[in-house]
Subunit: 256 residues, 2 copies
Amino acid sequence: MRLAVIGPGLIGRSVTLAARRADPGTHVIEIDRGGALDAARGADLIVLATPVQVILEIISLQSDILRSSVTLDTGSTKRAVLSAARAAGLNHFVGGHPMAGAATAGPADARADLFYGRPFFLVPTGADAIALEFARKFVESLGARPVVMADDGREHDQVMAAVSHLPQVVAAALMAVCAEAAGSRLDWAGAGLRDMTRLAASPASTWQSILDSNADYVAPLLRAMAERLEAVADGLGDGHSVAKLLETANRARAIL
Amino acid sequence: MRLAVIGPGLIGRSVTLAARRADPGTHVIEIDRGGALDAARGADLIVLATPVQVILEIISLQSDILRSSVTLDTGSTKRAVLSAARAAGLNHFVGGHPMAGAATAGPADARADLFYGRPFFLVPTGADAIALEFARKFVESLGARPVVMADDGREHDQVMAAVSHLPQVVAAALMAVCAEAAGSRLDWAGAGLRDMTRLAASPASTWQSILDSNADYVAPLLRAMAERLEAVADGLGDGHSVAKLLETANRARAIL
């Protein structure tokens, strides 16, 4: 198989390593996100592993390169990507999102087993059945657990807004508020704050495009979160308001 | 030395273990938080290691037991405790707070080296110099790094509101909002959400009293956090609003 990986960061490089491990005969071409995409032309499979914004640019500006290959992207949101692929008339394009990796990691952290046992969402809206089957088998060969979703990325984006995008913004806002309030005493923080703000080290530009592409699902959750915090602020000192929230959270956390 | 530890949970039991390791001749009496405190009478040092609410009750209802001993508490907030101690006329009472341990841990997790190298705040407002010196030497003997604060607990409580109490409420609110929004898909969450909601497993009743006793410092931070989230919600999609917050957070996180 001839595989082209565009954007060899943590995810892209790990795709390369895992594909080679699955089939040592795989011929892989890695192309940096700024590189000339012509080398990908004619590949059996093109994997777009750049940030969402760059995936959208490639689809809209260089769709001719993708047209005759099965194309799988790994972007963090799916509706915008699938809508761009449909607008470009790409009918071998399968939307994908592996639940693996960490936002702060780079190609040096890539591993052949990064996807092992992890969900790999596949959203085949607009793709023909052969492309989906090809993508599904490829994802399985990486060791991932393919999860095919029949809508156009709505459920994926909605759930990611809750379990990934909201936590990202909350981590950043918490870090900013804490740093401002604690000043030079920030080093008094214990493991709790460190755990809670790990995501705040993620690169800003990547997240701006993820969040912008999922604004309609993320914004209401940010407002719901703000309302909860305001309600606790209003009730503090009454001896029970926080306990109720904490009990709800205790139960949910036990499920998680 | 005769040491009485009231409330042998993670902190209290670790005080026992560390004190015995420092001086094997130490005679320790451990008393459960509901137990008869009379056994503590006449100890050289009484350590109150119960939740804040119980510390306040002991000071106000059984101050006669504490009167002739140096008393050190380990409560998470200091102003309310010191104010109660002053009201009870205790002049060998030193407020304390070790930055060690985890809210979900119990006596089974106690360790002689729990305090080793960690800050142990001491707020001696209203205590005589001999009591402070005694408490400071004791805390050093546990392996902790005493940090004496000259105010009546204000700076301690203000910094803790930022680095400990705000993160606690945020973790609980995030867990509740995510669980509601993700429903049965909550298991799609990755390491990020898990890290951010670890604190949400903390016991509700303990935190209710911590937060109530620091409401005036915690509430404005909750509102500041809510405002930040609302501002992100308003700006989402504009291509730059989140990046600014994330860059601020990147810098603060690098310092942390």
